[in-house]
């Protein structure tokens, strides 16, 4: 008897197991087919091809290096134009040490750290001493004013791979850090150096060339650099008014974004909590109010933050209000719904205990419900603060302003990648700070036991 029963049970379990396996295999197969189909649809195998290699390498290079532009016009070879990143206003007044002007034969030498040289002559440009390049190359203009490589006319295919000669332009790039472009009208050399130069102070500043620690020590130095203002103010002003990095604009934009997130979450939680009480059945007996509030929460949440921000953008224009209200509206819905569920899930014994002492309704809710939901409320609000910091960046880029818009702008101009990287790092740091702070605050306010 027992034997038979066992066999039956085993058979039943076996059958169920087989059924499970079957379902699992079928679902797995469906997902696999979908995955392969989608990989082909989104063109993942051609990832490498889609990559715009020139842009990507320029982007990477610009992030960790900066360049100086050295320009010579063929018409006026004595006037060498030196600019930082080719900026309109960033002209060097004094020659840097790597630029040598030779008065005797009217040549100008641009030295590179690896020993290589580009030498400008009134009628030609020479390339010398680059490592692993034995042959000196000479670039000239022909009678029609077109550039050519001396000795390679008609033999352009014999040129090394890092040199490209077309009818109107000769482009030379021995390595990533040196670049020469010869045109019919001018010659331009880009000289790359590692690091973010002028990050602290731009080069019109009296403090140019000072690093972070120099600046800090200068702040507390009594000898004034500028007799009119104190060193502390001078350092702060010069740092903020850096024309190349725009610290004041960028940092203020970052503050704006953080304000959007913090104020938006604050308003959402302050409005959401009372509404949540009204939407909970154990607080509000009127079902019509509850139904109305529930649908209101659904509406606020369902109309996405994107759509809210578009509507507010029309009303308030680009600025903080758009971001604050887009976040506040969406999260009033989310927090309201979450909290009303939490209120409904509270233990009613607490409330009954308070009621038995003869307390009125308000006191019952104050001491019977709020202590139970407060930890959930605080931790949820802090979670939303974290996610809203990211959301504020995104709303900003949609037009509400703040760091998001600056980021988009810097990316679209396409030549200030170091600013893009700077802002990306700033966003990363801000998000991480908010995350850490909210984790600390959560632990402080609701105790360790919440952290599993």
């Amino acid at each position: 008897m027992e034997q038979v029963l066992n066999q039956n049970v085993i058979d039943a379990v076996d059958l169920k197991h087989k059924k499970h396996i079957k379902i699992l295999i079928i679902t797995g197969f469906v997902f696999l087919v979908y995955l392969i189909g989608s990989i082909l649809h989104f063109d993942l195998p051609n990832l490498a091809k889609k990559w715009n290699k020139d842009r990507a390498s320029m982007f990477m290079l610009d992030i960790y290096a900066h360049k100086d532009h050295i320009k010579m016009n063929w018409k006026d070879p004595q006037k060498i134009d030196l600019r930082f990143e080719g900026g309109h206003r960033h002209v060097y007044k004094d020659d840097p040490t790597w630029l040598i002007r030779n008065k005797n034969n009217q040549s100008t030498i641009v030295n590179f750290d690896n020993g290589g040289q580009f030498v400008f002559f009134p009628n030609r440009v020479e390339m010398r001493n680059f490592p692993n390049i034995n042959e000196p190359f000479i670039f000239k203009l022909n009678k029609n004013g077109k550039p050519y490589v001396d000795g390679y006319v008609g033999k352009e295919s014999m040129l090394p791979s890092w040199m490209r000669a077309t009818e109107n332009k000769v482009e030379v790039r021995p390595s990533l850090y040196e670049r020469l472009q010869v045109y019919g009208s001018k010659v331009e050399v880009h000289r790359y150096e590692l690091g973010w130069k002028y990050f602290w102070f731009d080069f019109d500043s009296p403090l140019v060339g000072k690093g972070f620690f120099d600046a800090i020590s200068l702040m507390f130095n009594e000898d004034r650099v500028d007799p009119k203002i104190s060193n502390f103010n001078l350092v702060v002003n010069e740092f903020l008014e850096n024309e190349i990095w725009h610290h004041n604009t960028v940092l203020f934009a970052m503050v704006e974004t953080l304000l959007m997130a913090i104020l938006g979450t604050l308003i959402a939680s302050m409005v959401g909590l009372p509404l949540a009480f009204l939407a909970a059945y154990n607080v509000t007996p009127l079902s019509s109010i509850r139904f109305f509030l529930r649908r209101l929460f659904d509406m606020l949440r369902g109309i996405d933050m994107l759509i809210w921000s578009l509507i507010f953008l029309r009303a308030f224009g680009p600025g903080l209000f758009t971001g604050i209200f887009a976040i506040a509206f969406t999260d009033t819905g989310t927090l309201g719904k979450l909290m009303s569920e939490a209120i409904e899930n509270t233990d009613k014994k607490d409330k009954e205990g308070i009621q038995s002492t003869g307390a009125n309704k308000v006191l019952q809710h104050r001491f019977g419900i709020i202590p139970q939901i407060l930890p959930i409320f605080i931790s949820q609000s802090l979670y939303y603060l974290e996610s809203n910091t990211r959301a504020a960046v995104i709303i900003g880029a949609m037009g509400a302003g703040g760091i998001g818009l600056h980021f988009l702008g810097a990316l679209m101009t396409g030549n200030d990648f170091e600013n893009v990287a700077y802002m990306a790092i700033l966003v990363l740091v801000a998000v991480m700070c908010i995350d850490t702070m909210s984790a600390k605050l959560r632990r402080l306010l609701i105790g360790i036991e919440d952290k599993k």
Partner: protein, 284 residues
């Protein structure tokens, strides 16, 4: 702390009152801080906003009302617009679905290495946790915009951005779920001489799979919203359609797209809550 083991009523009362007073002070300070933050923040907002708050408030309903008016004027044609943008919507949802699935696979791999009860090597655990932190920290939009710039306008950069963010966000939740799993089945299998993979397969996975699926569904919802926004900056789908019609000020079509989006988000919300309720068993 006290020389007497038994505290008198007076001492207890005194301590209680002192504690209550301290709490009152703390609450008072935090409320003041919050009010200060709110007022100063709103002042800054008022000063730096393009338009003032009051003017904006009066104009708040203008835009939606205009849009709805236009939608009503277009009459029956409006329904055609809804169907016109359906393929875009499907492409956006597909983008979100695929990136969620792909991101969840990465998250699964990462979370296995970020769980203390599976990996004994502290360095591997810390390394994979930091990796997930960094993946999670960048907003999708930042990664997507950089990739869009470098790879040209297509759906692929958005997919990559969402996959990166999803891998980080889900990885953290997954590894927390694994660490919170009951240790007894693992120990039981270990006592029978089960290998690492057998322990994971028969003791950990059955415990965490419902949680994993529910987290992934939640993420899918978030990713549908995200892929709409990424479409707005050039990744295709309904977001791009919305940005186009907003530029051309086609009110009726804007309403049609917004309608599609809201319906999608709400139905996805209900659907995923229903599925999650069935999976975890506490249907709310």
């Amino acid at each position: 702390m006290y020389s007497d083991n038994i505290l008198g009523f007076e001492t207890i009362e005194k301590n209680l009152k002192a504690m209550a007073f301290k709490r009152l002070i703390y609450s008072f300070i935090s409320i003041l801080a919050i009010l200060f933050l709110l007022s100063s923040g709103l002042t800054i907002a008022e000063e730096n906003n393009a338009g003032s708050f009051q003017r904006g408030l009066s104009k708040f309903f203008d835009y939606p009302v205009d849009l709805f008016k236009e939608a009503f004027e277009s009459g029956w044609r409006w329904y055609a617009y809804v169907f016109k943008y359906l393929p875009d919507l499907i492409s956006t949802i597909n983008m979100a679905f695929f990136s969620t699935l792909f991101g969840a696979i990465f998250a699964l791999l990462l979370s296995l290495f970020a769980s203390k009860n599976l990996i004994k090597n502290q360095y591997i655990v810390t390394l994979s946790r930091r990796t997930m932190d960094i993946l999670r920290s960048f907003p999708e939009l930042v990664i997507a915009m950089i990739f869009l710039y470098l790879m040209g306008k297509s759906e692929l950069p958005a997919v990559i951005a969402i996959v990166i963010h999803t891998a980080g966000a889900l990885g953290k939740l997954f590894s927390e779920a694994i660490e919170n799993a009951d240790n007894k089945p693992i120990e039981g299998l270990q006592s029978c001489g089960a290998s690492w993979w057998q322990r994971v397969r028969f003791a950990v996975i059955p415990q965490v799979v419902p949680l994993f699926i529910s987290y992934t569904l939640l993420r899918l919802e978030i990713n549908v919203r995200a892929s709409t926004i990424l479409g707005f900056v050039g990744a295709g789908g309904i977001g791009e359609a919305l940005s186009t019609v907003i530029q051309f000020r086609y009110g009726d079509e804007i309403i049609a797209i917004m309608f599609l989006l809201v319906i999608t988000i709400i139905s996805l919300d209900y659907f995923s809550r229903f599925l999650r309720g069935r999976l975890i068993g506490d249907n709310k």
